[in-house]
Assembly symmetry: C2
């Protein structure tokens, strides 16, 4: 009772001294927050060994914890907020590091990233300008050059000259693959519709005048139907229009048909449509397939088209001696997107766009009087984003602590697992492999006993009905599995050559966690079988 | 010798067991990285008490540490990388938390942010979809609703219904003010040029067809000449064209002249130019001035124009009972940008765009088969960015631990300091106040003895020459002060009414660190006087 009174008295207050303490006094070792820090560290170890991908609260239940929308008038203690975070947020987050969480592109991180996360927050640098980033600016340029080197392997002399030269840009660091893709197509659009006589370029004069000046009736971007949705988003933002993202025909493996590509380019040009760019995919988000990059590069060179490669997922395949040939031709691209928070194993919020020509990023250059002045070292001159954190430190550290050979192990492990899983599925009676493994992404579906024969014997209409039923089963299994919280795969809808234009729901696995192994794959399949059996009951 | 041999043998290796350790074993308490974590914590305390804003290495010297552009073949130990980070990166970063670093918008953070930085990294959630973020999704929606509430103060009932409703969006969380501004103008453009009969809207059909359909000759965005450079960038990206960012006349205090604004709208419409939006500024980046928001809102309503307010800097002024009336009319805006990594005191990489109409963000909605399906709770449906980290946890915590009253103290402290500094400058013989303080940003310049009288007596040409000389002095002082590393102010160029169209270089201070006080302001002025005296020698 006395204690309660005491606690009631000791309320957080909004005076200058309290505020000063909030800004100057580190949390004590025995504080709730330090306790959570340690707990998280332990928890991650637990997630890594046990198989729990998330708690059991459903979304409606969770939403109830976040209903209050008034900003509190009075401050509360850090410990109070920490208690809230622990019970309502941390404990109800998704264990993206769990080896049985194999449904999305967010995976385990090297442990030292946790310390770097704290260090980065503490330093709070801003990469938009050198006055708020200092050593972080050349550090970021180095990281960009290292990845440029991985893709384009220009001479040591070239990098010696350009990597730290403020007048050149080998690439731009950003928050992720979407921004990298938008930036690349922005560069491509501004290059296609550059200044010419009185016309000051699309950048200054806008899309309408640009098309009138160049006597065009529209713009287009070409990519296979497996292109990431950020490309459609890019077309919206950049004024191209989402309808003008042209889906190029693919072969049975979802890879761009280069003859169709070239034909499409001709048709568009006959219709007076300007080609902003052709996009090749190195690792489609849904199936992990890789377009025939070298052949696409040839078409683009012949046709004088800008060639961008979305290697947000698959770029790091270049680390593997065994598999890097899958990306042959990537060094012919005008630009390449890579996500560092995917297969470079750094925390969320890091992507890059790399450019073959170190002058191309000047096509999107901006200036202001108080920063990013012409001739300055400020990286904010040539980026879609403004203020940005020092995430490059994470990438620099991962590249050094893992090394090329460490990444090679990770890549080989993942692709190996995808092949193992494909084998398990092919050998089973009750699963169907829906796409072949190229990289470490695989799709498949469950086929209940009896359905397999029915599928192979069915006529067109019957097939459609069977697939409709199977789609329902796939969706139901995935939802139940997700709710159970032990293992997790995602799902998507694909057009598969054997089933015509009917969209087929499939499970989608992404095998990038180094701790995922064959026993976990078996566990995932077993759980799906069991859920299916229960659905049937 | 034996020890050396041992160390040489004990090299990091790229085998599976090493890799497993990197992913599963936390750094020990006595590891180099844990040591740096502790050091950073101590260092920040040191930066907060001493007056050092950065080390003394010059940019060329720093660049030499980041010349190697090959990705290392072999892994190195975390401890080796940590040594590198400590000596070459951490020690050569900018001490943005130092109270004498008053030149940019990056300031000290509450200490608990360091722990949260580690926790966020450890959880590695991805807000693009609920399957990789779970509780973080309703948490982010709550934070958005809290800031929406701060700006628009709709009823409790309204927020009860909309805040967690997956079909509505009160705003979007993003990496910063630039993305918030682009997103807002993207919404504005898509609203102006929406679907109509056969025309499927600018989003689908692109800018060229949109303008033809609506019989327009171009597009425009209107803002005062003090608008942030991200608005010009937005015009480039969105296909409007940078030349079509129309600079509206301002009064002597740099505030939009509303009569000119309305006249400009008429002129543009007569020339068949579609008005994408009018932008009001709540705290210009260079001078901290606030546009007459309520009057601008009236013009926009009368003219049927989309009204966006860039409150990236000044938004949190709403926390102050004393100063919030400066932002009167903000609740009439269609959208408002706020940077959380500025005056909400969270780490770099957090901004928001809030929307008055919870349906407006559907104008930029995107879908995919494997995520952000129609009707899903996935926040990635309506955002420029794709994958995003759980920064909302930082904002949620700051809003609770500081409370409305804590922020009020911070805001009042900063504006108070700006007025104090203005007073010190007005009382001095050797400084000139170049803009009046509105918020906590102030510009001024140094005037050497004798120049003041010369300035007031000078004819037009003489004045021009004097200012040219003063511009050189301002730039020289700022550069020397920056290189000295004890105190830091930034600089910019302004047009000042008393000097016609000549651009005047000025010092720019941003007073947002709660630990900055009058004695530091005195120190800054004294150092500038001393540098000036030495320049003169």
């Amino acid at each position: 009772m006395v204690r309660d009174l005491f606690l009631n008295k000791k309320k957080a207050s909004a005076d200058y001294e309290t505020l000063r303490r909030v800004f100057t006094a580190p949390e004590g070792r025995s504080s709730t927050l330090s306790h959570i820090e340690k707990e998280i560290s332990k928890n991650i170890q637990r997630f890594l060994s046990q198989h729990i991908v998330s708690g059991d609260a459903d979304p409606e239940e969770l939403e109830r914890n976040f209903k209050n929308t008034s900003i509190p008038e009075e401050p509360i203690f850090v410990s109070e907020q920490a208690d809230f975070l622990l019970s309502k947020v941390v404990s109800q987050s998704v264990h993206t590091s769990s080896p049985s969480f194999i449904g999305h592109m967010t995976s385990a991180l090297p442990y030292f990233m946790l310390s770097l996360g704290k260090i980065m927050t503490g330093l709070n640098q801003n990469l938009v300008k050198i006055e708020t980033s200092k050593a972080f600016t050349p550090l970021e340029r180095q990281v960009i050059a290292m990845l440029h080197h991985l893709i384009y392997h220009f001479s040591a002399d070239y990098y010696q000259k350009t990597a730290q030269d403020r007048y050149n840009s080998l690439g731009v660091f950003c928050s992720g693959g979407t921004v990298a893709n938008i930036t690349s197509l922005w560069v491509a659009r501004n290059r296609l519709l550059g200044p010419d006589g009185d016309f000051r370029g699309v950048s200054n004069d806008g899309v309408y005048r640009a098309l009138r000046h160049y006597n065009l009736e529209g713009l287009a971007v070409l990519v296979s139907k497996l292109g990431h949705y950020s490309l459609s988003k890019s077309c919206d933002i950049l004024g191209v229009g989402k309808r003008h993202l042209v889906a190029v025909d693919t072969d049975h493996e979802g890879r761009v048909n280069v003859d169709s590509l070239e034909k499409e380019i001709h048709l568009l040009r006959e219709a007076k449509i300007g080609i902003v760019g052709v996009v090749g995919i190195a690792g489609t988000t849904e199936t992990g397939h890789v377009d025939p990059l070298a052949d696409m590069a040839k078409v683009c060179r012949r046709q004088g088209c800008y060639f961008h490669i979305d290697a947000s997922w698959g770029g790091p395949t270049l680390f593997s001696e065994k598999h890097k040939s899958l990306l042959n031709g990537i060094d012919q691209a005008d630009s390449v997107s890579i996500d560092a928070h995917k297969q470079l194993y750094v925390p969320m919020g890091a992507g890059l766009a790399l450019f073959r020509d170190h002058q191309n990023l000047s096509l999107i250059e901006q200036h202001a009087q108080y920063v990013i002045r012409s001739g300055s070292r400020d990286l904010g001159k040539r980026s879609l984003e403004g203020s940005r954190p020092g995430m490059a430190m994470m990438v620099h550290s991962a590249l050094h602590v893992l090394g090329r050979k460490g990444y090679e192990l990770l890549i080989d492990h993942g692709i190996g697992l995808a092949k193992t899983l494909a084998g398990m599925i092919l050998e089973s009676d009750d699963f169907e492999l829906t796409t072949e493994p190229t990289l470490n992404i695989l799709t498949y579906r469950y086929i209940p006993p009896g359905f397999k024969d029915a599928l192979s014997d069915a006529g067109e209409e019957q097939l459609r009905n069977l697939n409709q039923r199977l789609n329902q089963i796939t969706v139901a299994i995935q939802k139940t599995q997700r709710a159970n919280g032990k293992t997790f795969v995602s799902r998507t809808q694909l057009e598969l050559p054997q089933y015509g234009d009917q969209r087929i729901d499939v499970f989608r696995t992404v095998l990038a966690n180094p701790l995922t192994d064959e026993s976990i794959l078996k566990m995932v399949l077993d759980e799906q079988r069991q859920i299916a059996a229960e659905l049937h009951d």
